[in-house]
Point group: C2
Chain length 218, copies 2
């Protein structure tokens, strides 16, 4: 197993090198990149559909839609008005890595983008270890998943800058406690910026849109 | 990357060897082992709590509660009446493997067990590649996760024998369609045995308990 650890370290440092190249390219063109991570079904694609509908005439948004199989998410994002959407099917791999991003990035004209959103594979563990050259990771958690998830999957919450709590319209249908999930998340990462939204009812989304606008204008 | 693939193959074949040893030990003692897999928050621990409450005086159930961090699940299972519960904290790894099971298995007196339930890490990708010596994998999916998950994460649904659809009390709060998720799952795996349950209301659980009883008596 020592050999496996060495190989993993080598793969990760190669990933870091490629991620640094990506980050430099994005910064040169003033593109802000966000890496969206969560469990399967937390609502990454739903949040991006809403975000596109609200901001597509205001910000130039590119999207990379990662999935183990199917281009379902890329198709949904195009239907929601995404003009620049690249599917990225891993064919089995449990996370996106910088090499995959390097492969699809030339499909975008970076000089015509404000924001690049990368939707990672639904997985609360592995994607946390792979820098994709993003400005920050945004982790989603939905109110149907249990409020102890930040403690059980701490790596992802430690390495994210933003946590979006989705499906707040379903609060009360389970034991999920909004204050407890926030306390658990801040125990792992005191600096986490937190949004509470429902992609179904639209509640809380305006604050999210405003934050994105500010992020791009900064 | 070719070296990485070779190393991965070696690790997997070592895993298969250990899994075969585990399987043989379990069969010698007539213990049926189930490997529970799902996204984080689908309700694996909730289903096991209910199962313990219903069957603990009837079947001798051992549990291995896997998590990336915390012994929360193991503690919940003990509170639900679990007499033989072993926590298995991976400390970062995204799946359980046969080596980890080999390490905790001696904690159980197999001659006094009917059923061994292994609760894997919440992850719909990586655990599908690791045989733990189980008789079968049971995959959970909840009605809040989206009905396209079997198509997007096909490996897990292909390698599972049973699919439990949990949180059916929340049907109607999203676009999740019960018939569509079953059709999608059967497209990947035509032989999948399917249960529809709500751990919250108890609906559908009797059929699940009956199936477990039959499985152990066979």
């Amino acid at each position: 197993m020592a050999t496996q650890v060495k190989i993993e370290k080598k793969v990760l440092s190669e990933n870091d090198r490629l991620a640094a190249d990506i980050r430099q390219q994005l910064q040169q063109h003033g593109v802000v990149a966000l890496n969206f991570v969560s469990s399967p079904g937390s609502g990454k694609t739903s949040l991006l559909e809403k975000t596109l509908s609200a901001l597509k005439d205001e910000l130039r948004i590119g999207l990379i839609a990662g999935d183990v199989q199917t281009e379902n998410d890329a198709n949904r994002l195009r239907l929601a008005g995404g003009q620049m959407v690249q599917p990225l099917v891993t064919g089995g791999a449990c996370h996106l890595d910088a090499k995959m991003i390097t492969r699809v990035l030339p499909e975008f004209d970076l000089s015509r983008l404000d924001l690049l959103i990368i939707e990672n594979v639904g997985n609360l563990v592995c994607p946390s270890s792979y820098d994709l050259g993003e400005a920050m990771k945004v982790v989603l958690i939905s109110t149907t998943e249990g409020d102890d998830k930040p403690l059980k999957y701490p790596g992802m919450f430690r390495r994210s800058s933003v946590m979006v709590i989705n499906k707040i319209d379903l609060l009360g249908t389970s034991d999920f406690d909004l204050e407890r999930v926030k306390a658990n998340a801040r125990q792992i990462n005191a600096d986490l910026k937190i949004f509470e939204v429902s992609c179904r009812t639209g509640e809380g989304l305006d604050a999210w849109y405003d934050w994105l606008r500010d992020l791009v204008r900064r």
